[in-house]
Amino acid sequence: MLEHGAHAAGNVGEQVKNMILHHIINGWEIEVPSSHWGSSVELDSHLWHFQLAGIDVNMSISKHVIMMFVAAGLLLLMALLLRRKIALVPRGFLSMIEGFVLFIRDEIAVATMGKHHAPSYTPFLCTTFFFILTCNLLGLIPYGSTATGNISVTAGLAFVAFVAIQFAGMRQMGVFGYFRHLVPPGVPWWLAPVMIVVEILGIFAKPFALCVRLFANMTAGHVVILSLIGLIFVMGLAISPVTVGFGVFMYILEIFVAFLQAYIFTMLTSLFIGLLVAGEH
C-alpha cells in the first residue's frame, strides 16, 4: 500500500500523506487483483487531451470515469434482469429494490410535491438515488474508488439537478411566470432589486450546496479511514488493534453515510422541485 508514495520522500509522514492522496484523488491507473499484467492497469491520459480557446481540456477516461461506467453498467444490468421478474408479490433482491423505489415515491416525491406532480419526477429521483448510491458503495469495496468523492463528478450531478429544478419551475409556471415569481407578489416595489439578486443567488447556491455536501461527505470518511491505517505506520505496530477497531467502526459508518447522502441528495432535489411546482396549492 505504501510503495506508491515511497519514491516521493523519505519520511513516513510524507509517505502516508501520499498514500492517502493516491486513494482519494482521481488518477490514470486502476488497481486490479495481481495477475500477469501486474497490480494496476494504466489508462491513456492523453486520449482526448486538447486545447479549447486557449484552455487545457482533458476529457480522457480516468479512474473515476471507469467507476461511473461500472456503476451505470451495474444499474442497467440490474434493471434489465429484474424487469423480467416483476410480479405482484416480489421476492428476494427485487423486493429490496421495490422497497427503495416505493420509499422514494411515497416518502420523498409525494411528501414534497404532492400526489399530482410526484409520478412525473419519480423516475428522475430514482435514477439519481440509485446512481449516487452505487457510486458511493463502489468506493467501499476492494479495488474500488469513490467517483462521488471527486468534486467534478458531484458538480455534474448537481448540474443535472439544477436543470431538473429549473425545468420543473418553467413547466409549472411558464418561462415568463417563472422569472416573474422571482419577486413574490406583495413585496414593496423598492425591495424588488434586492429580491431579484437574492433569489438568483439562491438558484445557484442550492446546487452548489448539493455538490459540496456530497463531495465533502464522501471524501471525509475515506480520509479518516486511511488516516487511521496510516497511523499504524507512523506510531508502530502496537497501536494497530485500536486503529483497526476504529477503522472497522468508520467503515460501517461509511456504509450508513453512503445511503444517507444518496437519500439527502434525492430528498433535497425533490424538495427544491416541490417548492416550485407545489406553490399553487
Binding site: E107, A209, V212, R213, A216, I264, M267
Partner: protein, 71 residues
C-alpha cells in the same frame, strides 16, 4: 504557516457552530417525537432536511478552510 493555522482554527470553529445547530435540531425532534410518537415520520423528515441545510453551510466554511490551507 499562518494560513495553515487559520485554516485549522476556522475548520474547528465551523464544526462547533454546525454541531451546535444540528444538536439543537435533534433535541427539538426528540422532544417532538416523545410528545407525539405518531408524528415521528414527519418529524424525522423535517429534521433531516434542516440538518442537511445546516451541514451545507458548515461545509461551505470547511471548503474555504481547505482553499486557505492549499493556497
Amino acid at each position: 504557516m499562518l494560513a495553515h493555522l487559520a485554516a485549522g482554527i476556522g475548520a474547528g470553529l465551523a464544526v462547533i457552530g454546525g454541531a451546535y445547530g444540528i444538536g439543537r435540531i435533534a433535541e427539538g425532534a426528540m422532544h417532538g417525537t416523545a410528545r407525539q410518537p405518531s408524528a415521528s415520520g414527519d418529524i424525522r423528515t423535517s429534521m433531516i432536511i434542516a440538518a442537511a441545510l445546516i451541514e451545507g453551510v458548515t461545509l461551505f466554511a470547511e471548503v474555504v478552510c481547505i482553499l486557505m490551507a492549499l493556497k
